[in-house]
């Protein structure tokens, strides 16, 4: 789409666009270029010079047991976060949609967690499951279950998944609820007259009509669990125990800033860059489709 009416001149538009171009160049393109460049070197042990290794950092990474494990961890983590935030959200949205009155009140209450930062959510969940003072872990102890996410990798993963999914339920609820409200009443009522029961209507009419929203949320939630859950993991497990909760973004941070392995961290950034690119392409392909839906 283009405007037919354009103003003349070239200096003014360049001045107008300059702030964004400068900020992007300095804080975006230069660092991104730097990451790509650094990924081709390894610094010597004294940090005085850089040795060219070509794709050596990548070869090393892809053969590194921990890095490959981190890929699996990220995949498991993002699938679990996506499912455990979307399913409860859909359930709540479907329930709220059946109410004529009062759904607004529930909506207002349910959007709260969205405003809570992932790092703060991490602290709240850590508090509930803290091995010494946590309420939930204490009651689990009373039931004979010895909760210890500091030592048990599976429990650590469960906890970061729930803490990450919690705030996303609000987000997904808003989108599902809006989509449900847009489903034509006449279609649902026609099915009801034909004797279709609630669950039958849900599976055969409502869910297919929700599919654009569902696919959109799938992609958005995967992107979220890849890149925005750093705060949750850093506050609850710091990637442990034994790296069982070290997702890719966390590894870029821990290798780059804690381990000071700049070449490897930069190579990881470049790999992530490809992952983001891929996800963005998927997202755009899908959005294009949705326009024609």
């Amino acid at each position: 789409m283009e405007k037919r009416v354009k103003f003349r001149g070239w200096l003014l538009p360049l001045l107008l666009i300059a702030p964004q171009v400068v900020v992007s160049a300095v804080f975006f393109f230069y660092p991104a270029g730097q990451a790509i460049w650094q990924s081709l070197f390894i610094p010597d042990p004294f940090g005085l010079s850089m040795k060219w290794v070509g794709l050596g950092n990548f070869e090393y990474l892809l053969s590194d047991r921990y890095y490959r494990a981190s890929f699996v961890t990220t995949a498991v983590f993002s699938i679990l976060v996506t499912l455990s935030s979307m399913i409860p959200a859909l359930f709540l949205a479907v329930t709220a949609d059946r109410l004529i009155k009062g759904s607004g009140v529930y909506r207002t209450l349910l959007i709260w967690p969205y405003a809570v930062a992932p790092a703060v959510a991490g602290v709240l969940w850590l508090f509930m499951f803290n091995t010494r003072v946590g309420v939930v872990s204490w009651y689990l102890g009373q039931l004979g279950y010895d909760w210890n996410h500091v030592l048990n990798g599976g429990e650590a993963m469960g906890l970061v998944v729930v803490a990450s999914a919690w705030g996303r339920i609000s987000y997904n609820f808003l989108f599902f609820f809006a989509a449900l409200q847009a489903v034509p009443r006449s279609v649902i009522e026609a099915a009801a007259i034909d004797g279709a029961h609630f669950w039958r209507r849900f599976w055969t009419i409502v869910l297919p009509l929700l599919s654009p929203t569902t696919f959109f949320l799938l992609v958005v939630n995967i992107v979220y669990s890849f890149f925005e859950t750093f705060g949750v993991i850093h506050t609850i497990t710091a990637g442990g125990p034994q790296q069982t909760t070290t997702i890719l973004v966390y590894k870029v941070f821990s290798d780059g800033f804690v381990g000071q392995d700049l070449g490897s961290s930069a190579a990881q950034s470049v790999i992530l860059l490809f992952v983001v690119g891929l996800l963005t392409v998927v997202q755009f392909k899908f959005i294009e489709k949705r326009v024609h839906y």
Binding site: V5, L12, P13, L99, W125, W138, R185, V276
Partner: protein
């Protein structure tokens, strides 16, 4: 909506109550972590370290919040709140201003390199700050912007979402308006201030809500560049309040800080719910 008159597929009687019960249960489960944090912020440390902690608020609310706000553990929480506020508003306002200007240039002018700039901006959509942290940190350190507001703000306004949003919106402004302005001999900037900016008011407000929360909830970036506790933001400062050794954390203070950290974004989201939902839908499309 005509839903009131139909009501055939909505619940009535016992079913209606059951639906409400489900919703209330859902709300309670979702709220439980926040409630517990609130309770913990109103009791004493000894109430907490002898589990199970109480489930109803105690009488230490004023004491805990006063001590958190004005003395804190590393730095008064009031200082961290101020830092977060400056950062969040800085990011929101900065992004809105640079994107309004560049979207105006892209939509209303034809100039050399326009398509190139457009694609360059588009590329920035793709790379979250988490991915390029080490080199971005080096750039900011090189400028001497560690422990400064500009270091907190600038790297996070380099993103294109807002530009795209405004571009989409400007494309829907009727051409007749620009035509009339041109016939009247109005200069482009006059058209921008008198027509484009006022028409974008709702979009600006919706975007502000989204960007404010985005800025307020940042964690990794402030964690890297604010080594001075005086510059900590509240969201990253909470983690710094945990002791490194085996000591008990000061849970009442930490939980009071957590509650304080969520109050501003919650007020923004709940108070400006309409704008928030609109901004959410707009910025994701």
């Amino acid at each position: 909506m005509a839903r009131e008159t139909h009501g055939m597929v909505e619940r009535r009687g016992a079913g209606l109550w059951l639906t409400h019960v489900f919703m209330i249960l859902g709300v309670l489960v979702i709220f439980f972590p926040i409630w517990l944090a609130f309770v913990a912020s109103t009791v004493t440390q000894s109430d907490i370290i002898r589990p199970p902690m109480p489930v109803w608020p105690g009488d230490q609310l004023w004491t805990n919040y006063k001590s958190a706000l004005f003395s804190g553990l590393n730095v008064p929480v009031a200082t961290m709140l101020m830092n977060s506020l400056i950062m969040a508003v800085g990011i929101a306002v900065g992004k809105i201003i640079i994107s309004l200007l560049s979207a105006f240039a892209i939509v209303y002018f034809k100039f050399p390199g326009r398509n190139l700039f457009f694609w360059l901006i588009f590329l920035t959509l793709m790379l979250p700050v988490e991915v390029r942290i080490v080199p971005t940190y080096e750039v900011v350190a090189g400028f001497g912007m560690l422990n400064s507001y500009s270091g907190l703000i600038f790297p996070l306004i380099a993103s294109a979402t807002a530009t795209f949003l405004f571009r989409q919106f400007f494309l829907t402004i009727p051409d007749e308006l620009a035509e009339a302005a041109r016939v009247d001999g109005a200069r482009p900037m006059r058209f921008f201030w008198d027509i484009v900016v006022p028409m974008s008011r709702t979009n600006v407000a919706a975007l502000f809500v989204i960007l404010f929360i985005y800025g307020w909830n940042q964690y990794l970036w402030p964690l890297l560049i604010t080594t001075d506790p005086e510059m900590n933001t509240i969201v990253m400062g909470i983690k710094q309040m945990f002791p490194s050794g085996d000591d008990f954390a000061d849970w009442p203070t930490i939980m009071a800080t957590s509650i304080l950290a969520m109050i501003p974004p919650v007020i923004v989201v709940v108070g400006m719910q309409r704008l928030f939902i609109r901004g959410l839908v707009d910025s994701e499309k």
